[in-house]
Amino acid sequence: MTSKRFLPLPLAGEGRGEGKPLAAAFVFLVLFTGACGNYSNEDLEFMNAVPAREDLAANMPHSMILPANEAELSRETHDVIRAFNGALDFLDAADVIRTFQPTTRVPNGRIWGPWPMNDHAGWEWRFRMTRDSATAEMFKYWFEVRPIGTGDDSWNLFIDGWFVPTGGGARRGMGFFHMQADDLRAGGFPILPDADQNIFSDLKVMYSTAAFPVSVTMTLVLYPKGDFTNTATIVFHYEQQENGQGAMEFSGTNAASGASLSITSRWLASGAGRAEAVGQNAAGETATWTECWNDQFVSVYNSNPFETPPVTTGDPALCPDISTL
């Protein structure tokens, strides 16, 4: 149980009892005989400002079982969604913030931790939040890590962000967070490569959950194949309507070659959708590949100029109309 009397930080309203010894004595009595708990509306407001993976993750309906003959750009879209959502996996840890009461309460501020990191032995983390009441209720937060046993100046910033609630429900508002790994890595914090041996460098996420469509723009920077002399920047933009319609724009650039690929996919709540993939080679030549699929994710129209020879199958009239995104 958290109790403010053990906190090393100033308490809300501290000093207001001066000159009122009886009142202070009574408050003292109540504090020490009964008043305790985690009953706080302000805690909820701070918790509400922390992004949740389920709010930002992309979701294409009916994607649990996919056919073997799935349309190729549908498959690409699913791959992109998996990559997009994978980049948000770390937000599962943010659920801790919403599940547990803060360790420390200060006026317009809350702190969770420091607590040891289960998956990084010898390191601990803390999560600080402040509320700037002067700027439209903007909440700012910092996720920091440090080696256990080191001092306050050893905290390394891992994630920082902000959120402005707009009301209307849990976590409704606009937010941004920035996850940066280079300084952490330099400080000795272990960051392992992914399955493709890419190493994470930087992630910026701007999102709006204030109203539908929900939008999330993610910029992910990786060191491809662990090559710290090269970076790959991937930009995702995802939107989702309340009725399940969604859209995902994906673009990637290889800094070394200058080649880029952009895929824009849209789908209905039934799962039927269409995608355009625009490729540009190092010489600046571009081509657009269009494919549509039905609610079984089977291609109903395909126009692929990247094939040799180019391939066109199906009927473009079977492509769904997804003009709202």
């Binding site: 403010k4 009964g34 708990g37 985690n38 009953y39 805690d43 009301g167 429900g169």
Partner: protein
């Protein structure tokens, strides 16, 4: 009505009339002292009395108003210890010695009301042997000493004079004449009961039977001679008759006051001069005979006068408003009378009107049972914080079911100690984050209240200290907020009224105002009000 009690009234009154014709209060050369003490508590193995201190105050008032005792010579002790009582006696003896040196004759009126058990007066947690106080009074250098002891088995006190049993008797047959009173010296002791009887209190009259009738007699009811002065023997005879009559049918059995004296010289002992202040109520000779009750503004009997045919009576009541009641076999005769300061108001039968027994102005008569008793209540409450809407988003208005257990007349008369528990729930909404929640609350509390029992309505007020246990869970699972709880002590005030609808059943309407310290986000002083409707049953 009356209850067995352990009570001691020790009256030491020395009232030697200066002359047969001169009133006591106007006696020349007689310095009167009084020690009047009452103690409701008697320590372990005794239950608190209800009227011992009140009786002492009543006697003190009569002695200083009508008994010729100057206020500076009168000592009133309520709730005093044995040592304080002895100290007061020593101080009076010193004052009396100084008066005697100045050539004054001295008299002491010593009254004590309280517990007695196992041969000792019980004064709170302290004791004083009856033999000791007897010996002290017997050895006192004061010329005339009178004592009244009102307690269970107080007749043992009379036995203390057995070494000199002159005059010791149990019946009110006195033949002392008022000749040569200037020479009177010695000790007179009255007790409220014999050595094997209990003394009893009455809730209807708001005092002990004996002291009540003694006081009524001193106010004038006992002035059998009609000369405006009440002698010791007149007072005793009156108190004896009325006490025996009132207690004859009681569960504890009849109570017989005793009288004993060891006096040298002749003389009647005049205790009060009813005419000295010439204010009160005058019952003319032609007024119907019977027992008249003079009821004060609080509904208690200030005097109970037994009037015979063809005689008049003066009752020296303090100025004020009184209701007069005379009981007939089939009805009451009731009227109102005001006693102005310095005036004796004659009571004409025309002042009285017929009234049913249900309109008995003696409210004390409605107090069927003032013994400690339990009552159990159940009902519903509604609670709301004052600081809405911000407060409501924390603690929404909540309906609760409540049960309380109350103990009456245990700590003190008309004090109620109560334990209550209540639980309830409500739906709330945190606007700032759009979070609906389910609120639940349980309160455990103790209250201490004072009530004013009435025939139908009993209002009460008091203080309450509650332990509040509150919690909430958020119904929007996607919000993932943890369950929250809060507990605190909350002091408050409580007031209400009980409306008796059946013998043991009352409907209770109650309100509470509470302070609530909320200290999680910040220190906030919140308050909440609560209204409740309950049914209470006397166990």
């Amino acid at each position: 009505m009356g209850r067995t009690l352990t009570r001691i009234v020790l009256v030491a009154l020395v009232a030697v009339a200066a002359t047969a014709t001169a009133s006591t209060a106007r006696a020349q050369g007689l310095r009167r002292f009084a020690i009047v003490a009452g103690n409701d508590t008697g320590g372990g193995e005794t239950r608190a009395l209800l009227y011992a201190s009140a009786d002492a105050r009543k006697v003190y008032d009569i002695l200083t108003r009508l008994g010729g005792v100057r206020p500076e010579d009168a000592t009133l002790l309520t709730g005093a210890t044995a040592s304080q009582l002895l100290a007061a006696l020593v101080a009076v003896e010193q004052q009396a010695a100084a008066a005697k040196q100045r050539g004054e004759r001295t008299a002491l009126f010593f009254y004590y009301s309280g517990h007695a058990k196992d041969g000792s007066l019980r004064m709170g947690e302290t004791r004083i042997p009856i033999d000791g106080i007897k010996a002290r009074i017997a050895a006192s250098p004061i010329d005339v000493r009178s004592a009244i002891l009102d307690s269970c088995k107080s007749g043992a006190m009379s036995g203390a004079l057995a070494t000199r049993t002159k005059g010791a008797r149990r019946a009110p047959a006195f033949e002392i004449q008022a000749d040569g009173p200037r020479d009177a010296k010695g000790v007179v002791i009255l007790t409220s009961s014999t050595s094997d009887e209990d003394s009893q209190e009455s809730d209807a009259i708001g005092g002990s039977y004996f002291s009540h009738h003694l006081a009524s007699g001193l106010l004038g009811g006992a002035d059998k001679s009609g000369d405006g002065r009440v002698t010791l023997f007149e007072a005793y005879a009156y108190a004896y008759d009325r006490t025996v009559a009132d207690t004859a049918e009681s569960a504890a059995g009849a109570q017989h006051p005793t009288f004993s004296y060891d006096l040298a010289g002749n003389g009647d002992l005049v205790l009060t001069d009813v005419a000295v202040r010439h204010e009160g109520v005058y019952f003319p000779r032609e007024a119907p005979s019977g027992v008249y009750f003079l009821v004060d503004g609080k509904g208690f009997v200030a005097a109970e006068i037994s009037k015979a045919d063809g005689v008049d009576r003066r009752v020296a009541l303090a100025p004020g408003h009184y209701r007069v009641k005379r009981r007939l076999p089939d009805r009451l005769r009731v009227g109102d009378i005001d006693v102005p300061r310095g005036q004796m108001v004659a009571l004409a039968e025309g002042y009285l009107r017929d009234a049913p027994f249900s309109d008995d102005p003696v409210k004390g008569a409605a107090r069927v049972d003032l013994t400690s008793r339990w009552s159990l209540g159940a009902g519903a409450t509604y609670q709301s914080v004052f600081a809405a809407p911000s407060g409501a988003s924390l603690f929404p208005p909540t309906g609760m079911l409540a049960v309380d257990l109350s103990l009456r007349n245990f700590l003190r008369r008309d004090w109620v100690w109560s334990l209550d528990i209540a639980a309830g729930s409500a739906n709330g909404y945190v606007n700032t984050v759009g979070a609906p929640f389910k609120f639940s609350e349980m309160s455990l509390a103790s209250s201490l209240m004072v009530e004013w029992p009435g025939r139908v309505v009993t209002p009460y007020v008091g203080g309450r200290l509650a332990m509040l246990l509150m919690g909430r869970t958020f119904t929007d699972e996607s919000a993932m907020y943890p369950a929250q709880f809060f507990s605190t002590l909350s002091p408050g005030l409580v007031g209400g009224a009980a409306f008796r609808i059946m013998k043991n059943t009352s409907l209770v309407a109650r309100g509470r105002l509470h302070y609530l310290l909320y200290n999680i986000d910040e220190d906030r002083s919140l308050g909440y009000w609560e209204l409740a409707g309950m049914v209470s049953y006397d166990l």
